[in-house]
Amino acid sequence: MLSTRLSTCRRHAVQRDADYGPEIVVSSLSSDSHTWNLIFLQLLLEELGHRVTNLGSCVPDDLLIAECERRRPCLIVLSSVNGHGYQEGLRIIHALRAVPALAATPVVIGGKLGTSGADPHLASALIDASFDAVFEDDAAGVLSFRSFVRALPVGTNA
């Protein structure tokens, strides 16, 4: 993992019972047609005890926002490996945060986010834009992601 936002846990503690369900939404971004990453994440999250809605590949912004607003997930996991993840991630996080119901929902992103390999500057820019965590697509990233999900205060026994 490259970065997390420190405020995540605090926000959970405040809002956990009222706002979050046990469900996690997994999604690609609008230009990315890859799906093996999404299938892996779904299996991993199910093994950790979560119910997963997998929105699949090439998800338009409107569809992602509408599904998240309707489902009120406890976590939104965005995965992208086509090199557009950074650009598209910045666009979508602003749109998600603009929805009152999703303003405080944990949102994470991971994969191959730029066109030229891992870049800590991209991760810190994504964190600044209010992602809760950014994960690299390697074994360490998967371990960090697993720890992050295990630390979620709700969902595992729901």
């Binding site: 230009s31 047609s33 799906t35 093996w36 999404l38 299938i39 892996f40 994440l41 299996l43 991993l44 093994e47 997998n54 699949g56 590949s57 090439c58 998800v59 338009p60 086509n82």
Partner: protein
Amino acid sequence: MMPQDSFGRFVGRMHRAGRLVVQPRMGVSDPAKMRRGLLATRHANATTVGTITLDSYTRVADNRAAVAALQTGAPLNGYPIVAHDPRTTRAMLDGVRDPGFPVQVRHGSAVPQGIFAALVAAGLDASEGGPISYCLPYSRLPLRESMTNWALCCELFARLRETGAEPHLETFGGCMLGQLCPPSLLVAISVLEGLFFRWFGLRSVSLSYAQQTNADQDAEAIAALRRLAAEFLCDVDWHVVIYAYMGVYPRTPKGASLLLEEAARLAVRNNAERLIVKTTAEAYRIPTFEENVAALETAAAAAAECAGRPWAPPGDTGLYAEARTLIEAVLNLASRLDKSLICAFERGYLDVPYCLHPDNAGRARSYIDDEGRLRWSSVGALPITAVAECGPGNALSSSDLLAALSYVSRRCDAHAIERPSAPMIEQREQ
């Protein structure tokens, strides 16, 4: 009107001369650079055909974004054939494409009307895809709409025959999801898309099959594909095109070359006419022209080295029977082929493992067995319970999935590191 030479006829002529046709994936936005890439392909020390791979914006029919990228000079990941004026594309191809060097347009679109109109306007007559294979894995478009789009495009494309040309279409159905699709289903979808092309007017087609995890199983699959093509497509010109492995690619250059050489031997051993190559850069990024030329030459050398060898005939584990059962079950669903295909997915008669498209039933599952063969762990509603040999039926865990996805790359990289000079797999000779 004089019949012109065509993609299909060229490949057939090379095959009769004992030469495997090799082909790259290649596309850049700048016409001058695209021309250089095609010339590099043409001048490679191999029997080649050229490729124009289109960019992602054109693939999703977002021509406005492609035009904007051309205007601002933003790099695209392919050639925007709709955004470029047809005269630009004709000039780019002038003196490059001729009867000895056909060129195919590759795209990946479920909305390909603009693409077919543009390639016809530019004087081109070869492309690829299919209503299933370019919808389910790469698009959210309902399958029904993809069927309509592809039917319209086939009819438009087939009209080129009135000018004396012989338009050629290749199915992408033998490559579904790149990996972990059991070969009987790949073969069935490839043949069904070939039948779709014929239904809507094409008379020259090729049938794809992507190298999977076990060379003997692949040999059996290609033999089944050829036999089914001879049975179901006897009144059209057809050939078989093999794709070098489409899944997670080896990270070492030697491992990547070993896998490509194995694909070339697979093609020769099974009498396939054409091979789509992968490069040593595949695990990292879009390859350069030079890397593509090197891959073409590696594949051609591996093919030449094993040409004329007597190969043992492939075994029969029931793959042909399974593929034929699937095809016949689909054809019996309706009197029109497009309706049959839509109905087949609704009922789960066709169900691609791990495919997330809303129109895919998602009940069939696969795994890699101890011999490296792809097998069903669940057939869902596929009508093959009588013929399919099912595995233990345990659901794949996330770590099993990662292991299965990287099975081939790990095998090749390990071999490259441990035994750098030995061939990876001794395919059985007679």
